[in-house]
C-alpha cells in the first residue's frame, strides 16, 4: 500500500527577530489512501501546526524549516503557490476547530460552498455550482438544503455550521480530509453526530482522513491508526487497537488513563501531573519530568523513535514496561 501523504522529518519553528522557538521537531508519519489517522496530544504538542503545514497554511512568523511533505507523489514544501492553490480544497481539504468563526459572516452559506466548487472547476456556471452546493448540504444531513443556501452563517447553529464546513470541504471530492479538532467547540451531543458523520463519509467516499484532536475517544471512534505527539515530537505511532490495548509510551498510557471513559464510575479522574514544556525542552527524554517511570538515564540522552512490531515508540524503557491500556 503506497502512502497518499507522507510527512518526514518535519521541522517547524517560530522566528521573531533573533529568537527561534522550535514548535515541531522531526515528525514523520504516513497516511494511506482511504485510511483514517488520529493525531493526538495536549495543546502545545504541535499537532495542529503539523496539520496546517500540509496545506501550507502556517500562521505568519511560523515556518517549516526542514523535512518533506509528499502528497500523491508531489513534494508540497517546494510546490509553487498556484500548484498549492489547486490542491487545496480540491484533492486536499481541511476543516477547522471553530465553526462559529470559520465561515465568513458576510456571505451566504450557498455562496461560500458554490465558490469552493467553482474555484476548482473553472467554467462551472452558477446554477451548476448551486446544485452541487445543495447536493453537498444534503450529503452532510442539512434538511431543506436548497432553502438554506440563502442563509447567512449566523442563522446556523454550531453543529450546522460544522456540517456546512464539511460540505464545503468535501465539495472538491478530496482524497485527504484534515479535520482539526472538528468537535472541540461543539456541544457534547452534537460532537457525537459530527463524529458519526465524519466516520460515515470517510468510509462511503473512501477518502483518507487525519483527525487532529486531544480527545482519545474521538480517535477510538473514527481512526485506524494513531500518532501521539508530545512537545513537538512523535512519541508513539500505532494501530488504534494495539494502542488502546497496550500503549508503549508512558505518555500514551497517561492519556488513555485520563479518559473519562476509562475511569470507574465514581472514581476520581486521573491526570498527568505538570504541563507540556514550551520553548526550552528538558534534556534527555522530553517527557521525563512528568513521567512516572523515569530513571536517571532518561534525563541524559534523548531517545530515538524505534520500531517494536507494528508500533513505533520514543522511550528507552518501552521493551521492559508493561503499560496499561484503556479498560
Amino acid at each position: 500500500m503506497t502512502a497518499l501523504l507522507s510527512i518526514s522529518e518535519l521541522r517547524i519553528q517560530h522566528r521573531r527577530g533573533g529568537t527561534v522557538t522550535p514548535l515541531v521537531d522531526g515528525v514523520s508519519f504516513t497516511v494511506a489512501a482511504g485510511e483514517a489517522l488520529g493525531l493526538v496530544g495536549e495543546s502545545g504538542s504541535g499537532k495542529t501546526l503539523t496539520a496546517l503545514s500540509a496545506l501550507r497554511l502556517l500562521p505568519p512568523g511560523v515556518v517549516q524549516t526542514a523535512g518533506s511533505i509528499v502528497f500523491a507523489g508531489r513534494e508540497l514544501s517546494t510546490l509553487d503557490d498556484e500548484g498549492m492553490r489547486r490542491l487545496r480544497g480540491n484533492e486536499l481539504a481541511m476543516i477547522f476547530q471553530d465553526p462559529m468563526t470559520s465561515l465568513n459572516p458576510a456571505f451566504t452559506i450557498g455562496n461560500q460552498i458554490a465558490e469552493a466548487v467553482r474555484a476548482h472547476r473553472p467554467g462551472t456556471d452558477r446554477a451548476t455550482a448551486r446544485n452541487r452546493a445543495v447536493e453537498m448540504l444534503d450529503l452532510v444531513g442539512i434538511p431543506a438544503a436548497r432553502a438554506r443556501l440563502r442563509d447567512y452563517p449566523h442563522a446556523f447553529s454550531g453543529g450546522m455550521r460544522q456540517r456546512a464546513m464539511i460540505a464545503m470541504a468535501l465539495s472538491g471530492e478530496p482524497r485527504l480530509l484534515i479535520a482539526d479538532e472538528p468537535t472541540t467547540a461543539l456541544d457534547v451531543t452534537i460532537q457525537a453526530q459530527i463524529l458519526e458523520l465524519l466516520a460515515r463519509l470517510q468510509q462511503d467516499l473512501g477518502m483518507a482522513m487525519i483527525v487532529v484532536t486531544h480527545d482519545l475517544g474521538v480517535v477510538a471512534d473514527v481512526c485506524h491508526r494513531v500518532c501521539v505527539m508530545y512537545a513537538g515530537q512523535l512519541v508513539e505511532r500505532a494501530p488504534v487497537d494495539t494502542f488502546y490495548a497496550r500503549p508503549r509510551h508512558p505518555y500514551g498510557e497517561g492519556l488513555l488513563r485520563a479518559m473519562p471513559q476509562s475511569t470507574a464510575p465514581g472514581a476520581r479522574l486521573r491526570v498527568i501531573p505538570g504541563a507540556v514544556p514550551s520553548g526550552a525542552f528538558p534534556p534527555g527524554c522530553r517527557f521525563h519530568p512528568r513521567c512516572g517511570y523515569v530513571e536517571p538515564a532518561c534525563t541524559a540522552d534523548p531517545p530515538d523513535l524505534v520500531d517494536d512490531g507494528p508500533v513505533s515508540v520514543r522511550c528507552r524503557r518501552h521493551a521492559e514496561l508493561r503499560l496499561r491500556g484503556a479498560r
Partner: protein, 292 residues
C-alpha cells in the same frame, strides 16, 4: 481530564500570542515620552531656558530670518521666535492639560452615576452625551469660547466639554462591568454591592484606559487650542501660544512664509508624541491584561 486536556480550545490562545509578539517595539514610546518630559521642563522653566524675552519687540528686524542670535528668526514685531515657541509651550500645554483634568473631574463621577444607577438616570445622561457628540467638536468649542468670550479659562471650559463624552462613556462602561461582577459575587452574601464598593473598584480598573484616553485627548487639545487661537477666539495676543503664533505667521504668510514652520512643527511633534505615547500605553496595557 481537566488538568490534562484543558483548555477546551487548546490552539486558540497561541495564535493570539503570535499576533502580540508582532506588536511594535518600545523605542518610539520612549522617544515620545523623553521628548514630552524635555518639553514640559522647558515650558516650566521658560524664563530660564528661553534665550530672549518673548515680548520684547525689535522693530529694526521685523520678520528677520534665523541668525546666530535668533536661531528661529524674528516675527512680524521683531520678537524672538524660539523664545515665543518656548513660552507658547506653557500656554498650549497648560490649556490642554487643564482641559483634560477638568473633563476627568466632571466625567468620572457622571460616568459612575450613569453606570451605577442605570435606568432612567443612565438614559437621560447618555442622551445628553449623544447630544454633545452630535455637534462637531471644533464647532462646539468655537461656539462656547465665542459666546463666553475668548480667554484661557474659557478655552479650558470649551475643551473640557468636548472631551467629557469619551471619558463619561469609558467610566460608564467600566462601571457596568464592575457592577455585573460585584453583583454576581455579592448576591451570594449581602444582596447587592453599595456604591462605594463599586466606586473603589471602578476607579482601580478605569485608571489605565483613562490615562490612554487622556494622552490622546492632550494631543487633540493642542490642535483645538491652536485652531481657536488662530481664529482669534482663544489665547489673546501678545501672550504667546502656538495657535497665536500661527495666527501671526498667517498674517505674514506672503512676506515671511517660513514663520509658519516653528509653531506648526512644535504642534505636529507634540501631538505626535502624545499619540505615540497613548498607542504605546494601550498596547502595553492590552498585553498585560491579555497575559494575566
Amino acid at each position: 481530564m481537566t488538568a490534562l486536556l484543558a483548555p477546551a480550545r487548546p490552539e486558540a490562545p497561541k495564535i493570539v500570542r503570535w499576533r502580540r509578539w508582532r506588536a511594535p517595539g518600545g523605542t518610539a514610546v520612549l522617544v515620545a515620552a523623553g521628548y514630552l518630559v524635555l518639553l514640559s521642563l522647558a515650558a516650566v522653566g521658560a524664563p530660564l531656558v528661553a534665550p530672549h524675552d518673548p515680548y520684547v519687540q525689535d522693530l529694526a528686524h521685523l520678520n528677520a530670518p534665523p541668525s546666530a542670535a535668533h536661531w528661529l528668526g524674528q516675527d512680524d514685531l521683531g520678537r524672538d521666535i524660539l523664545s515665543r515657541v518656548i513660552f507658547g509651550a506653557r500656554v498650549s500645554l497648560a490649556s490642554s492639560l487643564l482641559a483634560v483634568g477638568l473633563a476627568m473631574l466632571v466625567a468620572v463621577p457622571v460616568g459612575l452615576i450613569s453606570g451605577f444607577f442605570g435606568g432612567i438616570v443612565d438614559a437621560i445622561l447618555m442622551r445628553i452625551v449623544d447630544g454633545i457628540q452630535s455637534i462637531p467638536p471644533l464647532v462646539l468649542a468655537l461656539v462656547i469660547t465665542g459666546l463666553l468670550g475668548p480667554s484661557l479659562r474659557n478655552i479650558v471650559i470649551a475643551l473640557a466639554v468636548i472631551f467629557s463624552p469619551t471619558f463619561i462613556r469609558l467610566t460608564r462602561g467600566q462601571t457596568l462591568a464592575v457592577r455585573e461582577e460585584t453583583y454576581v459575587e455579592a448576591s451570594k452574601s449581602i444582596g447587592s454591592a453599595p456604591l462605594w464598593v463599586i466606586r473603589r473598584r471602578v476607579l482601580r480598573n478605569v485608571g489605565s484606559p483613562l490615562i490612554v484616553q487622556a494622552s490622546t485627548s492632550l494631543g487633540f487639545g493642542l490642535l483645538a487650542e491652536a485652531g481657536l487661537s488662530f481664529l482669534g477666539l482663544g489665547i489673546q495676543p501678545p501672550q504667546a501660544s502656538w495657535g497665536v503664533m500661527l495666527n501671526r505667521a498667517y498674517a505674514a504668510l506672503f512676506t515671511a512664509g517660513w514663520e509658519v514652520l516653528p509653531p506648526g512643527l512644535a504642534i505636529v511633534l507634540t501631538v505626535l508624541a502624545f499619540n505615540v505615547l497613548g498607542d504605546g500605553l494601550r498596547d502595553r496595557l492590552a498585553r498585560r491584561d491579555g497575559l494575566r
